[in-house]
Amino acid sequence: MQVLIPTPLRSYTGARLVEAPGTTLGEVLAELDRRFPGIRFRMIDEQEAMRPHIRFFVDGEQTFDLSRPVRPGEALQIVQALSGG
């Protein structure tokens, strides 16, 4: 699927948009980490929780569930949360 990368993470991808396959959000993030080592841990902590200021939108819908299925044609937006300033 197509993944929109926020500016804080573009040092990993070198691009605003990248492709990463997967059938769930978790699989897509794992594939991203395989291609861009280290990127997942900046977004997901060691207890498998999303970090407080990172948000995920699948096909425009916010999700906090790494097992959320993703379908062909959907896009993933990774967003840095607006956290008050």
Partner: protein, 411 residues
Amino acid sequence: MASKKKAAKKAAPRARRPSAPVRRAPKRAARTVVLVATRKGAWLFHGDAARKRWRADGPHFLGHVLSHLVLDPRDGRTLLAAAKTGHLGPTVFRSTDLGRTWKEASRPPAFPRVPAVASAEGQAGEKGRVVDHTFWLTPGHASEPGTWYAGTSPHGLFRSEDGGVTWDPVAGLNDDPAYRRWMGGPQDGTPDGPKLHSVIVDPRDAAHLYLGMSSGGVHESLDRGASWAPLVQGMEVVEGFDPATIAFHDPHCVRLCPSNPDRLWQQNHCGIYRLDRPERTWVRVGRSMPKQVGDIGFPMVVHPRDQDTAWVFPMDGSTVWPRTAVGGKPAAFVTRNGGKTWKRLAAGLPAEQAWWTVKRQAMAADRGAPVGLYVGTTQGELWASRDEGARWTCLARHLPEIYAVETAELG
């Protein structure tokens, strides 16, 4: 909270044999580099041989929160940087060419994952810990190239044996039931979380370690971190609290004396202390500081060749703890007699209306003769003295808030 009885259960390590002070002739470095970590990036200040002219190299990692930047003295070229950003999780960056290029650790410090489903073995209800940021970096013993230690917030100790590429938790501390009680959680500690800091490796013995926890005491291991015991006797705590409770002890900065590894110095939330091993009782040597200044502060620096000389940079720890220079008049203080007396060193520093302070990692000494001192302020100024604090000059202004200052020598 831990009781005195519980604290006593931790076996006291055997006392180390005292050794004669080590005195070496000063070897003048060709170049001193001052490593500055700030709230918004890192800078390297390269000095000439006279330490008069300085060249700023930076910013590195502009916008990243850098807690510590340390050069490995064992190879003179490997830099480790503890970093995070406002949005992203913590990591460690590594350079082997003095910061020209950086690579990220493939496995940064992180606590073990706690299974989502509680096991029958007692993890019911336990929430897995998460490293918020790596706060402290210490190169390992000279005999163990590639070994590093990292202290985190919340409290955690981690070790790398491959030069900072991969990190593993030190379970002997992190998972010890007593230490779990003494360690702070996200609600404790300094405004941005409890810190594990001052990780010290005895230069005579790679297995002999010390560390400090704010708050949570000073601790010692004689087996490379497999087991630990508190070393807090003699340390005072905030009035009204019980010093028998390890969690109430708040060492801000602990230093081992390079010329006598049996001597430790400490700047604590409650005073300045010295400990000469094999003794186990800290002596509050800050009582001899001027009464109007007091002996509260964050950093402490020890002379590289003189065990009786150490510097502090006091702050206002009265009333609501302003954590500013006392009276708006910043000054370092030096003792040259093991803490019996202290002398104010403020020539060149702002004479009044300067309300900054110096954090626990933001004061450092070089190995020159006379010793050079370096101080980074919360308002982004880097001050230096080429004469052991007698006269100060400002090397840089308008940097972000400075979190850490370290020195290194380049051949």
